[in-house]
Symmetry: C2
Amino acid sequence: MIYDLIIIGGGPAGISAGVYAARKKMKSLLITETFGGQSIVSDDIQNWIGEKNISGLDLAKKMEDHIRSYSDMVDIKSSEKVVEIKKVLCEEGTRVCDFTVTTDKDNSYTAKTLILASGARRRKLGIPGEEKLNGKGVAYCSTCDAPLFSGKRVAVVGGGNAGLEAVQDLFPYASEVFLLEYSESLKGDASTQELIRQNPKLKEIILNAQTLEIIGDKFVSALKYQDRISGETKELAVDGVFVEIGSVPNSEMVKDIVDVDKFGQVVIDSKHSSTSHPGIFAAGDITDDPYKQNNISSGDAVKAALAAYNYLLQKSKANPVEETTDNNKK
Amino acid sequence: MIYDLIIIGGGPAGISAGVYAARKKMKSLLITETFGGQSIVSDDIQNWIGEKNISGLDLAKKMEDHIRSYSDMVDIKSSEKVVEIKKVLCEEGTRVCDFTVTTDKDNSYTAKTLILASGARRRKLGIPGEEKLNGKGVAYCSTCDAPLFSGKRVAVVGGGNAGLEAVQDLFPYASEVFLLEYSESLKGDASTQELIRQNPKLKEIILNAQTLEIIGDKFVSALKYQDRISGETKELAVDGVFVEIGSVPNSEMVKDIVDVDKFGQVVIDSKHSSTSHPGIFAAGDITDDPYKQNNISSGDAVKAALAAYNYLLQKSKANPVEETTDNNKK
């Protein structure tokens, strides 16, 4: 069979696209390794709109329940990972194609449209303690988690713009902030550097720091690092460690079909969540959305599903396929 | 005092902007007549992601609770309506200004940035029964509510594109669909007209129909209308009436300051929810977003709040104000 739509990913973007596609009676397949997305490790999400507090696991469960209630329209393959996407059955003289998706289980599925919602993975330090204390003092999103560190001593690892911005995000909350950078100088904007240096809460900028271990029993208590010049090993007593060394979009399987930016992020027109290829849409952390938040992923995925629906309606007409922009549609 | 941010509106967009602004420690004011937005009249919202079912009132309550939990950062003026927005204290040689907002209570408030989230109002028929049966068979959003009419007989009022699309949205659910249009011909796209005429569920297209009354006790049972040619009054036995005669954005107070489209919708760059004026952002049904859904309003408002935060950070630097587009920011 040929699906109307295949959704790749089971985080907020994939779920949102699935619910809307189902309600538009598009026969859909959702392929994901897990449900919930990157925030599933959070003990305490405070910025999912409508919920003052919810754990990442509970939010993932609510989302999974929501999509599974549409099992008549949405088939779900969990524990499968998409490894290849190919264009097939392209209409002569157009860029209108179907798409075949192959997973790591060697299964192949075909659809008329795709929504890419496979997210991104945070670059990790890869040191002992990081995994164990993830969500227990180790954090990867300062916009999300800075408010959890009121009155705490916090280390930020990474001296690029993301690291500097994490320091700024922590100032209103943390009691003391330390900034560690592997190389001999900070890489972020000079003007932001100047701004953070003026704030007395920034206790120290530690350059040439190779992180070695995050220490803690139930919660982070210290960060161990080596001074790469002196070779000396030191321990910094902190309650939190923000790892801000970038993220990698899960776009490897599609980067030859749609335009990606220099970070590998899928470039979208944010009004319709459309990519450079007709029939392929994208939302969430795989895209070039600059903010990367759960509610944004969800909203942009709703646009993707409705744009895919319009795309199929247009295809079913005699007219050539084009994006619809009816401003009175509700 | 001068606020960092004034948010105009208390629907999903306004609430979402407020939560994110508060967490960024922006001193904010939210002005709204009511909480919850247009979907507050729905008995059964099935497409707020994460909730299989929730009433409009319950969703509004959850949102109000969420924003009120940040009362340290967000002042709230409810039961006030913004009637005027003026630019003040504009920096010489730039378009960087503060903004003073005046309400129908003759109160004035000033802020460095604005988020416009005052939504839109559906055009209503203005006939007896419409208000009483709103949410009880009378509906204004086919994307939202078509699934509630499985096996039902439904009338759609309005022969423009929105009406034709409502008919399409109803086909997979309703048993019979009637389309009524006030004038002597349908106004929507010819190709869509052709498509819906082929579907046997479309029982009748009734032209020159002046709607007179929506009849029903607890739920819609009929639609009364007059044939404008013969003068004859008729009753159509239906379980639902979709009113699809357009909507009006609540942008009157700002249309001289930011660009609006021919529908009066505030034109935004959907990547940052920014308007044509520096320091003014917008999200939700007041904007030219083509889909108008709660989750989209929420996501776009998160972008607006984070873009406003970046705007203020940029202003605090020596550099000229410009939109930031750091792709690694999370």
